[in-house]
Symmetry: C2
Subunit: 240 residues, 2 copies
DNA sequence: CAGTGGTCTAGACCACTTT
DNA sequence: AAGTGGTCTAGACCACTGG
């Protein structure tokens, strides 16, 4: 909210207006020049905001036409690094706590390599199951190096947005992500959490998040039931 | 090759040099200002080239440090829209033709909605299996609207890069992609092609590619064996 | 401290779409 | 012809990293 980056302000405003149907599906956003004039920004700044909207699948740009609000599929746009809370309507979500935040050593067979700073610090670990319309969709297990994150275990509410909490509490921002994806058969624990028969194919996703603290990364292991909700992704070109 | 876009030229040059170990893993690229001076380009043009390298996972940028060549995992970076040929070393690939290019009507239960132009045109369809080190990794079934693509069925060689062929033959470029991902149990046909037991979890990916012809899209359905090779993905922020 | 990438400005010309 | 987004220039100030 207290963001002073011009392109992010514009991006947030336009995103809100798209979600509020100020610009409904298929409609055209004000042109770049109009946005420049209305916001007193240079065109490249306006374009930076629009680019972010485009790579996140909100709009499509077409030369000679404009920026068109794009149809959104009934799938979870979770392959970009936006969290669950940002991609699903709030009132459809239910979050079940499986493991409250707990300070512990790193698992011996951790799924990513850690740097020395991280591995020396121990980790904070929590797990939760996310449901949409009473149906478990995702089991999420998150590991955070225990580095200058005071009171984390006491203050983080599992049912809220993790990224928002990090931003508000520690000014920690997610800058990007690497992930790997497999199709695997659900083991007993996962099957139980997702209420599926053992052996059901599920999506396994390992993620390494990059933050605005260069040596602090967040790690998540996700298991997703894709029977009803696919994972989705939009990728445009890199843009100026 | 005959590209006159400055940022793409620089991007291609740097990418080649990274792959050729001119800039090995962990090394730092010349700074933006140095690249400006060396190439006589404005900084924003240089940044556009670097941004593309970043979103494709070749480099990481760090404020105050520079652009660092990033470690590449032993996984297929196929979740961005670069093709198989661009992400895997050529000599490890083997391509088996399952269905040579054939002009046919669209399947009745096609996995994406088509616009009128596309559905009226009929489609070109081909299928292939990609192997790495003698192991089948991906079954790919591609559908292209039969729109102004003369001699396609005769000229396209299945074992070559599809995107390169489109660029050279028709000046057709891929501008972006939407995709959806599921974990499913391999059916008989898929299991056979990937040499897996029926029911093995595999990744199912449907893709809609956007091209530089506004109403022409390409469609692919992929099935991937992730036992040995995960699919991977890097996503940074949107950049100028 | 000098150097780096991040943000931002105020212009310009182009190819493309629509009227 | 007018308007759109795509590319590009030549500057500027900032926050951050390193010696």
């Amino acid at each position: 909210m207290e963001n002073t980056l011009q392109y992010k302000n514009l991006y947030n405003r336009l995103k809100k207006e798209i979600l509020a149907d100020v610009y409904p599906l298929g409609s055209v956003l004000p042109s770049e020049n109009e946005l420049c004039a209305a916001s007193s920004l240079a065109r490249s700044t306006v374009r930076q905001a629009l680019s972010q909207l485009e790579t996140e699948g909100y709009i499509v740009k077409q030369k000679g036409k404009g920026s068109i609000v794009k149809s959104k599929s009934r799938a979870l746009n979770l392959l970009s690094f936006h969290g669950f809370s940002a991609t699903v309507e709030q009132d459809e979500i239910f979050t079940l706590s499986v493991q409250e935040p707990l300070i512990q050593p790193w698992p011996a067979d951790f799924f990513f390599d850690l740097n020395e700073i991280e591995s020396g610090a121990g980790c904070i670990h929590f797990s939760r199951v996310r449901s949409i319309d009473q149906q478990p969709v995702m089991f999420e297990s998150t590991y955070v190096p225990n580095l200058n994150l005071p009171k984390f275990t006491r203050q983080f509410q599992l049912h809220t947005s993790f990224f928002e909490f990090l931003g508000k509490e520690y000014h920690l921002e997610i800058m990007g992500m690497d992930q790997q994806i497999w199709a695997v058969a659900a083991e007993a624990a996962i099957a139980t959490h997702l209420q599926l028969p053992i052996g059901t194919p599920v999506l396994k996703i390992s993620r390494k998040y990059h933050t605005n603290r260069p040596h602090l990364h967040l790690y998540s292991l996700l298991f997703c039931n894709t029977e009803k909700y696919a994972m989705s992704n939009s990728s445009g070109l890199v843009n100026a």
